[in-house]
């Protein structure tokens, strides 16, 4: 009946064994999906953006680009993955009665199936080598980021077992019944065995062949309970990844009276959030990248995601594998819906400690590192929203920051009247938008400079604002600032979970900007946090603006020849390292622009840190951490300062006011910079120092410091 498998004793049993296991796998997965469906928050629309999502699937699931950030692990995983896929063709053939083989053997005289058989042989050997390597990593070299448990070893044994039994079943098959075309390695190994007793060869073949089917079936049954569930879940998880800008947090309706604000329990999550939990492979790339974990704080992004999975599994407790029909439930008084109590358990202090929720700097290093595109940060902000908006439970220091933002529109608590103090003493006028509008000259405005609170109120960052304004003036641009009409964008409030204060500030700003029709102009800012809010988040509140970071803007001015530097070849050579801002590099892909600006400054040699560009290491001030005490572990800015100093560079260039504050403090406190020789300087300051005097005005630019 099945000519292809004529030699296999009791072949038809395969259908029972394999498809039985497959059905079990499907039922367990369906039970997981019932928990996912209990999430109230909206998930991605399953049927939208199919081309984009499919491309992402190819890029992250099939090409596994994220895996190659760790090249050794990347190569190993790629080998196992593709080997597994190729060998799965063989398995699929077996469990369908040889249909695949029959079809693929028809054209070209069986060449295709022959090629597949040959490749399977090669791949089997490669996979066995890689499995050996994986065992070596887990048992001997032991990288710190991995979670060590029996689960991983079982999976490696199962994969190795499938491949080995398949290969050697073929070897004994060939030795007893003669070679089949293509499988040349099996044939070569079979050679010395051909003379053995045929009864032994038959028995060895039968045992190994059935062992392989048994392992495949066992694998299917084991998978949904293990971290290796990712071999199935990674595909939907990658497909349904967040497509909105990384820096756009989910919108919040604060007028919904009955709603839970933010995330308290599993039920407040979306289905994709819980899918993240089931997909996590515990590889630990997130914890390895996390600045909080790296400085000894309780936050571990991996444990958080694993905790969500544990809670989801717990919520399944008592659910039957096969849901009962309504009639059965009624007749026997059964209740197999998810128990409300399991869904009412708070996530904070179960999946993640309270302190850890506040350790997050929202730098997104975990999200960037995750090969299966898990979103950690948005969930942590969801938890903060609930703690702040419903329970008023947050580190006491934030009380002042919240009140200041709400009261006077900036977290420093400075009087709005002093917003323009940074312009005092500049040799040119910094126009205010209201005056420009009153004079009817708004049309002629080239660009709005969004100064930001840090540059307006912080002593050190005021110098950056002066340098950047000097560049704008030197380029002969018609620019203006909002002055007292500007308020905090709300980013710190939003990242600290206070969407109420965020929306109050943000909608005020949107209203102001729209009043001056700034949607038609370019807005430039030197603050990556303002940049992210205005550019990526104000759309939720009806404000669509074109905002440019000062690095990109200065680069354009240089490229257009509107800014000229003095390069008389005598400029002393200086070394500089660039500390990338998370919200520029990682969140908004601005990596080349600040380097282009530094490249234009004469005499500068850029030395990169190890963690650079999209892999940058946070300064420690993101996510509202600027206004919290750092009492747990060591200081993040000290860690980053060490990284910067170890390059040997004489200057640390920054592109963000918070990074500036943190790096400045870090450098002043660093023991190996006791003389204070290495200083933090913004890219705009480095450029402004070397600008040629503006010819028309004939002004000197000695006003910077």
């Amino acid at each position: 009946m099945f000519p292809v498998f004529a030699e296999v004793p009791a072949y038809p049993l395969v259908f029972v064994v394999f498809w039985g296991a497959a059905a079990f796998f499907a039922l367990v997965t369906a039970r997981h999906i019932r928990v996912l469906a209990a999430g109230h928050a909206p998930g991605p629309n399953p049927l939208a953006k199919i081309p984009t999502r499919t491309l992402g699937l190819i890029r992250y699931a099939f090409l596994q680009v994220r895996m190659f950030k760790d090249p050794r692990a990347g190569v190993m995983h790629f080998g196992i993955f593709w080997g597994f896929i190729l060998l799965t063709i063989g398995t699929a053939d077996i469990v369908t009665g040889g249909i695949i083989q029959t079809i693929l053997s028809a054209p070209f005289d069986g060449l295709i199936w022959m090629a597949i058989s040959a490749m399977q042989n090669v791949v089997a050997v490669i996979v066995l080598v890689f499995i050996g390597w994986a065992f070596e990593r887990r048992l001997i070299s032991k990288p710190a980021r991995l979670t060590y448990n029996r689960d991983a070893l079982s999976i490696l044994l199962l994969i190795g077992g499938v491949v080995a039994t398949e290969l050697f079943a073929q070897v004994f098959e060939f030795a007893r019944y003669g070679d089949k075309p293509g499988a040349f390695i099996a044939a070569a190994i079979a050679n010395p065995l051909r003379s053995l007793d045929s009864g032994f060869l038959e028995a060895a073949f039968a045992v190994l062949w059935w062992a392989r089917i048994a392992i495949v079936a066992a694998f299917l049954c084991f998978l949904p309970f293990s971290k290796h569930y990712h071999v199935a879940m990674a595909f939907p998880n990658i497909y349904y990844r967040k497509l909105a800008p990384r820096g756009e947090l989910p919108a919040m309706d604060l007028e919904a009276e009955d709603a839970t604000f933010g995330v308290r329990t599993l039920a407040d999550l979306g289905w994709k959030d819980m899918l993240d939990g089931f997909t996590c492979t515990e590889c630990g790339r997130c914890q390895q990248a996390c600045p909080a974990w790296n400085t000894g704080k309780p936050l571990n992004p991996k444990h958080f995601i694993m905790g969500i999975r544990e809670m989801s599994v717990e919520a399944e407790h008592g659910l039957p594998l096969i849901p009962n029909s309504a009639i059965v439930r009624e007749t026997y008084g059964l209740d197999d819906t998810i128990q409300a109590a399991a869904l009412a358990k708070p996530i904070v202090d179960n999946a993640i400690p309270f302190d850890a929720v506040w350790d997050c700097v929202t730098c997104g290093a975990c999200v960037e590192a995750c090969p299966v595109l898990i979103e950690h940060v948005d969930k942590i902000i969801g938890l903060r929203r609930n703690l702040v908006l419903e329970d008023s439970r947050f580190p006491a220091e934030l009380n002042g920051a919240f009140r200041n933002m709400e009261g006077v529109g900036n977290p420093w608590g400075q009087p709005p009247a002093s917003r323009l103090d940074w312009t005092k003493g500049l040799p040119f006028e910094v126009p205010i938008v209201a005056d420009v509008a009153a004079a009817g000259k708004l049309e002629a405005l080239d660009v709005l400079y969004w100064v930001g609170c840090a540059a307006a109120f912080d002593e050190r960052n005021r110098k950056v604002a002066r340098a950047f304004a000097t560049c704008l003036d030197a380029a002969g641009l018609n620019f203006a600032v909002l002055g007292q009409e500007e308020s905090c964008t709300g980013d710190p409030a939003r990242r600290m979970g206070n969407d109420y204060v965020y929306q109050m500030l943000a909608s005020g700003n949107v209203e102001t900007l729209n009043r001056y029709r700034m949607g038609e102009k370019t807005i430039v800012t030197a603050c990556p946090h303002c940049f992210n809010s205005i550019g990526n988040e104000y759309g939720q509140l009806g404000g669509t603006f074109r905002v440019v970071h000062h690095s990109a803007f200065l680069k354009e001015l240089l490229a257009a020849g509107r800014l000229r530097v003095i390069d008389d070849e005598t400029s002393p050579r200086r070394s500089v390292t660039l500390h990338d801002s998370c919200y520029m590099a990682r969140y908004n892909n601005v990596v080349a622009e600040p380097r282009d600006v530094l490249g234009a400054v004469p005499g500068l040699d850029l030395i990169e840190m190890e963690k650079t560009g999209k892999n940058t290491f946070c300064c420690g001030a993101g996510g509202g951490r600027m206004w919290m005490e750092e009492t747990r572990g060591t200081r993040i800015n000290a860690s980053r300062t060490d990284q910067a100093l170890s390059t040997g560079a004489g200057t640390v260039a920054t592109e963000c006011p918070f990074c500036m504050t943190m790096m400045k403090d870090g450098l002043e406190a660093a023991e190996n910079n006791a003389a204070g020789e290495v200083r933090a300087v913004d890219i705009a300051e480095l450029l402004a120092e070397s600008l040629a005097p503006r010819e028309l005005a004939g002004r000197q630019l000695s006003v910077l410091q």
Binding site: L254, E257, F261, V388, L389, E390, D391, S392, F394, A396, L398, N399, F402, R403, N404, G407, V408, G413, Q414, P415, P416, A417, S418, Y500, E668
Partner: protein, 262 residues
């Protein structure tokens, strides 16, 4: 237990936008208003008391009509209702008038305790609570660092801060207590609190409806006069001393010695 907390709207000190108008009075429109900081400590103390003993909190203030907006912020922290005494003629009232009006308003309320802050960040007089207690012949317990009511026996014990420690005072309720910051940081209102505050009872009453006999009260009859005003001198440059505790102490001693302060 019924507690009345006196919460005054004041210009937000952080805004630093206080201005005097033509009559040498505070221009309240020039600056955003907040609940007086010390009053928030009194409200926090009251909230903790009703959490422990049950009961209600009524906010009381005398302010221009816009004071209702500020009172919503205090209601968001958890108070039950608000009573605003507002009348244009009261603008520029002095301490005696304020005390008479508030005492009259208290006469129409039921309460076991009246809590007030130490002083206000705008007027800074710090005597209105004492004047009210005197008018109503209520026990006056000042500078409270701890409040322990005993409702079944109708008594309250207060720990009063003194220059050398504290006194323990006991009085029958109703009593008036002036609260210090030692009672604990005021809470940050939750969003649920803010939403609930929108529909809480907030009554604005005029003098006439109070039945107050304050003829001759208000700015026109004030017993005090502003003779002149000037800005405080701006602070000098700040010196930041860095280093270990010993280095810091040495540097500070040298600095003080150089100025002949020590």
């Amino acid at each position: 237990m019924h507690i009345v907390v006196m919460t005054k709207p004041v210009p937000d000190p952080a805004a630093a936008a206080e201005r005097l108008d033509a009559d040498q009075r505070l221009d309240r429109a020039a600056s955003p208003a907040v609940v007086n900081g010390n009053d928030e400590y009194a409200l926090e103390a009251a909230l903790k008391l009703i959490e422990a003993f049950g009961g209600e909190i009524t906010l009381l203030t005398m302010a221009p009509a816009a004071g209702a907006e500020t009172m919503r912020k205090a209601l968001a922290m958890g108070a039950t209702r608000g009573l605003l005494i507002s009348e244009p003629a009261l603008a520029g009232s002095d301490v005696p008038t304020t005390a008479i009006v508030l005492a009259t308003a208290l006469g129409g309320l039921t309460y076991d305790l009246v809590l007030a802050g130490v002083d206000t960040s705008d007027g800074g007089g710090g005597v209105v609570p004492a004047a009210i207690a005197a008018r109503l012949r209520l026990p006056y317990l000042g500078n409270a660092a701890k409040i322990e009511p005993d409702p079944p026996n109708g008594r309250v014990t207060v720990r009063r801060i003194t220059p050398i420690g504290y006194d323990v005072l006991e009085a029958p309720m109703p009593a008036l207590i002036v609260c210090t910051q030692a009672l604990g940081e005021p809470r940050y209102p939750s969003l649920k609190g803010i939403m609930a505050a929108r529909s809480k009872e907030l009554v604005t009453r005029t003098l006439e409806s109070l039945g107050a006999d304050v003829a001759g009260a208000g700015g026109a009859h004030t017993t005090t006069r502003v003779l002149g005003t000037r800005r405080p001198p701006s602070r000098g440059a700040t010196t930041v001393v860095r280093g270990s505790a010993e280095e810091g102490a040495t540097a500070i001693v040298e600095l003080l010695a150089a100025r002949r302060i020590i």
